[in-house]
């Protein structure tokens, strides 16, 4: 008897809570008026994430309800883990502290690095910007098409930073396609890697789309490099298989696979590519909020994202600064982001084994 009342009591509470939340979303608009939103970038100033965060600053100020003051602060160190740990301990569920970061924060979380104190999958999403990637090879490899690449026999040398970092989706795409590429890891950044490629020290490389368009595209035009494929972008079902809107001429990894092998890619390699590709590319730049942030605040960010995507100034300047992608809204992406942050045990185990055996990563 008592049990029954308790149950119905709590479910009644849940119903009224839901009604309240629903009503909130429908009527009350959260306003940031007079507030300051601190955007924490867990990297040193001047990097790609910092540039993107500062680029978004004024658009968020313009389009968030109540026109808050948005300030970017840098908390570098620990390969972004320090800044994310700080966020975990200090953010409040009021939407006024935002962690704006990349797969450098997500990968150690997924792989279970011991220094990680943050629970990324529990956090809410505020907004995001996708990254795109283009894989290209030197013309002197004789490779002219993606198919040549898959069947290449000549020595292919890829320069990277670290296997468990932003190189991971590209390295996984080589696994999926079964290309025999030797990787040399340990470069300090994608810029020095590009220089090593231009010097002919390596002959396979990938760059993120803004850099590809400003720095590499001209060498593809003059025939010294051959662009092969993109990492792909999200289709409407949350699969990383669509063409990259920033470089629509190039096929995605998925298309290359289907083209060459005549079937859909599958298996644990492909699942791993999907999860890590999503974290590095589709959700490459993501702003996180405190786990208990109420829906009305998340929705306020979603509304701002919708307005920013229609701002002609954002569309024009975004072409160069962030590759011309539209911002990602939490309404569309939060669930898929959480799923990517929590891959199956099979995928996790595959990744850990691959990194340990092939790339000498010690966990």
């Amino acid at each position: 008897m008592t049990r029954h009342t308790k149950l119905s009591g709590s479910s009644a509470l849940a119903v009224s809570l839901m009604a309240l939340l629903g009503a909130n979303h429908a009527t009350a608009q959260h306003s940031f008026e007079g507030q300051t939103i601190e955007v924490v970038v867990p990297f040193a100033p001047g990097g790609a994430t910092d540039v993107a965060a500062r680029f978004l600053e004024r658009f968020l100020e313009r389009h968030l309800e109540g026109n808050p003051n948005v300030e970017v602060t840098n908390r570098g160190g620990g390969g972004s883990i320090l800044g994310a740990n700080w966020f975990q301990q200090n953010a409040r569920p009021d939407g006024q502290t935002v962690l704006f970061t990349t797969s450098s924060t997500a990968n150690p979380y997924v792989l279970g690095q011991p220094e990680v104190e943050y629970d990324l999958a529990a956090m809410r999403m505020a907004y995001g910007l996708p990254f795109g990637s283009v894989t290209y090879v030197a013309a002197n490899t004789g490779i002219e098409t993606p198919e040549d690449f898959v069947n290449a026999s000549g020595p292919l040398l890829y320069g990277g930073i670290a296997a468990a970092a932003s190189d991971l989706p590209t390295l996984l795409s080589f696994e999926v396609l079964g290309v025999d590429v030797r990787s040399v890891l340990g470069f300090t950044g994608r810029g020095p890697i590009r220089l090593a490629f231009e010097r002919g020290e390596t002959n396979v490389d990938f760059q993120f789309t803004p850099v590809y368009m400003t720095q590499v595209a001209s060498s593809v035009e003059d025939g010294s490099s051959v662009a092969l494929m993109t990492g792909g972008s999200m289709d409407e079902n949350g699969r990383l298989i669509a063409r990259d809107p920033a470089v629509p001429d190039l096929p995605s990894v998925y298309e290359v696979y289907v083209d060459v092998f005549g079937e859909e890619p599958s298996g644990v390699e492909w699942d791993a590519y999907q999860a890590m590709g999503a974290l590095t590319l589709a959700y490459g730049l993501t702003a996180y909020l405190h786990p208990d942030t109420p829906d009305e605040i998340v929705n306020a960010f979603a509304d701002a994202v919708a307005r920013i995507n229609e701002d002609p100034e954002f569309i024009e300047e975004g072409q160069q600064v962030v590759g011309g992608y539209a911002m990602t809204s939490p309404v569309d992406a939060e669930a898929a982001l959480r799923a990517a942050l929590q891959p199956s045990d099979e995928v996790r185990e595959y990744l850990i084994n691959l990194l340990t055996d092939k790339f000498d990563v010690q966990f």
Partner: protein, 652 residues
């Protein structure tokens, strides 16, 4: 040429000149504050650039970048604490000159050398950008490796007389440099499970800890001013004379520095030491190096300013920043919609020349302002040191704390400070530690990249041979001239720098000597145990530091032990007066950890000012209030919140 003139007239818009001058002033201030070099100056200016148009915003940053290595000469010379890590040679030679009462000479020489370095850097920028592409592309990973090795070789010139101790110090630096991720295998080394150590230690904190903290400790306990002699810095003529005497050395150093700037990542720190080593090998009488040799100042200052400017060459040509300040500048270029790359030279020639003019103008204005303000700054060296030490300590804490904004920054600063203090007492040279630390990463990284990409064929590359000739040619030259001298039966006059009659070898030992050798054995011993668990390619460089380091450290322990038993009566604890100061600093750090920066700083200031600066309570309160407001202003300018205490944030 038209573009150059067009750029000049663009720059001479009043608002842009104003921005440039503001940048220069900010750069000067941050250059002078130990620990807050160019990176701090530029990142603090970053939010302000958007108040201006793109050219003015960039001028603001360039003004700051170009003068940091000019004004940090003041700190290095007067305090003996390097204003920025690449100025360590200036701190060693220049400060030794200041202690002899030659501060004016050292400063004048340093400013002029800096300015020359800046101008040559700007000239290179203007001339080299159209043609530098092939040069930068010719520098492959093997050449970068060779350049780092050369830096290490020249740094060995800093080892000093006691070979065992000097080499052990260098090994210690290399070992500290391997903390963090291994480049070849994703191993994290010596991180003790602390996220703080995952990126390795910050160069700023290592330099501040080893050099600046021990200076502050000694000078607080000494009670007097910085210099025992009165510093006369109104008469600059001796500085000009030294400058003119070293003019060719400065120009050569500036070119070494320029070349260093072309090499991303190795950059300023290696080239400063290469230039310093070059000064040493091109000077006949080497005995004054380490004890106040003007040529050491001339070479280092000529090189470091040229490097920071030519860092912009790879930045503008390839979007690959040459150094941390250039990285922030690149971010600013992106934000203004400029995308550096091979095409920028043809697409944005005016911007390019605007950068050149800004840098050149800032170098000249910066040097002029330095000359103007130095007499004022020199006055500071005569007042009681505690009055300056208190704010300096606060600035250093702030400078260290901005690295990652965690208490790890402050703990490491203090830990290295205590080790640096022991090394100073024990007469272990600290410069090799710094150089080993700086070059460990590039040496290891480029070694693995090079051998993986090129196998061993890299040793025959022309670029590698050319860079190696920097070491080999002087060696052959020296050997040949010695041989000729022998044949002529005239004994060489000056080659033997080792024989120094002034210093008699110590026969006994002291507490610090014993302590330092035991600490070194403990560090190397522990590192050896941990390194055995690493993967093979993560272990190589640490072992290259640990094995000789451990052997040398054990040798030194045994040697000091024998000295102790032979001359027990000579054993003593040196600088006992410093002990309370060390305890005070540890207490300050603990106070910050427990009660937060504000409370701990208030107590620290009042205590230091009344106890060591001889102020009455009222005066101390007034001065402490000013400093307190100032340091909080600095924190808010840097947009960081000062550390909160554990107790405060958990109990309230």
């Amino acid at each position: 040429m038209d573009n150059a003139l067009a750029a000049l007239s663009e720059l001479f818009e009043p608002l842009r000149l104003f921005a440039l001058i503001m940048g220069v002033l900010a750069g000067m201030v941050f250059g002078m504050l130990p620990g807050l070099g160019g990176v701090a100056a530029v990142s603090i200016m970053l939010p302000f650039i958007f108040l201006f148009d793109s050219y003015a915003g960039l001028a603001l940053l360039l003004g700051a970048i170009s003068v940091v290595y000019t004004s940090d000469t003041i700190t290095s010379v007067l305090l003996g604490a390097p204003g920025s890590p690449a100025s360590a040679p200036t701190a060693i030679e220049g400060h030794a000159m200041a202690r002899r009462g030659e501060a004016a000479t050292a400063l004048g020489l340093g400013f002029l050398a800096s300015m020359t370095g800046g101008l040559i850097g700007a000239m290179t920028l203007a001339l080299a950008i159209p043609v530098a592409g092939p040069i930068v592309l010719a520098l492959g990973t093997p050449e970068l490796l060779m350049f780092a090795l050369i830096g290490l070789y020249f740094a060995s010139s800093m080892i000093g007389r006691d070979l065992a101790v000097g080499l052990a110090a260098g090994c210690l630096g290399l070992l500290i440099g391997t903390i963090g991720p291994a480049p070849a295998a994703a191993n994290f080394r010596f991180t003790f499970g602390q996220a703080y150590l995952l990126d390795g230690l910050s160069l700023t904190i290592v330099a501040l800890g080893l050099f600046a903290v021990p200076e502050i400790i000694s000078m607080l306990s000494g009670g007097g001013g910085i210099s025992s002699k009165r510093q006369v810095v109104s008469n600059w003529s001796s500085g000009f004379v030294e400058f003119w005497k070293s003019r060719w050395l400065i120009i050569r150093s500036a070119f070494i520095g320029t070349f260093g700037g072309f090499v991303p990542a190795v950059g300023a720190n290696a080239s400063t030491w290469v230039a310093y080593g070059h000064a040493m090998s091109s000077t006949k009488d080497k005995s004054r190096f380490g004890k106040g040799e003007p040529r050491g100042v001339a070479a280092a200052e000529g090189a470091n300013n040229a490097t920071v400017i030519s860092d912009l060459v790879p930045t503008l040509l390839f979007s690959v920043p040459g150094g941390p300040a250039a990285a922030i500048f690149l971010g600013a270029l992106f934000s203004f919609g400029f995308f550096p790359g091979p095409r920028m030279v043809t697409e944005e020639p005016v911007l390019l020349y605007l950068i050149v003019w800004s840098v050149a103008l800032a170098s000249i204005v910066g040097a002029a302002i330095c000359f103007a303000i130095t007499p004022l700054v020199a006055q500071l060296t005569r007042i009681r040191f505690a009055l300056i030490a208190a704010p300096l300590m606060l600035v250093m804490v702030a400078g260290a704390y901005q690295a990652t904004q965690s208490l790890g920054d402050i703990s490491i600063l203090l830990l290295l400070g205590v080790i640096g203090w022991i090394m100073k007492q024990a007469e272990w040279p600290r410069a090799p530690v710094l150089v080993g630390f700086v070059l460990a990463t590039p040496v290891e990284q480029y070694f693995w990249l090079t051998t993986q990409i090129h196998g061993w064929s890299w040793l025959g590359r022309p670029g590698v041979l050319l860079i190696a000739s920097f070491i080999i040619v002087p060696l052959i030259w020296r050997a040949a001239s010695r041989w000729i001298a022998k044949r002529k039966a005239i004994s060489p006059l000056s080659v033997s720098a080792d024989a120094d009659p002034d210093v008699s070898k110590p026969t006994g030992t002291t507490a610090a000597r014993l302590a330092m050798s035991v600490i070194a054995v403990a560090i190397f011993g522990y590192a050896l145990a941990e390194a055995m668990g690493f993967r093979a390619n993560a272990r190589l460089l640490p072992l290259l530091a640990i094995i000789p380091g451990l052997a040398l450290a054990i040798f030194v322990v045994v040697r000091e032990g024998i000295r102790l038993t032979r001359n027990v009566d000579q054993f003593h604890f040196e600088a006992k007066a410093d002990y309370p100061i060390i305890a005070l600093l540890i207490g300050y750090a603990l106070g910050i950890a427990l009660f937060g920066f504000q409370v701990a700083t208030a107590v620290f200031l009042i205590f230091v000012l009344t106890r060591f600066a001889g102020l009455r309570l009222l005066g101390a309160l007034a001065y402490a209030t000013i400093l307190f407001v100032g340091i909080n202003g600095l924190f808010s300018l840097m947009r960081i919140a000062p550390p909160e205490g554990y107790l405060i944030s958990n109990l309230f």
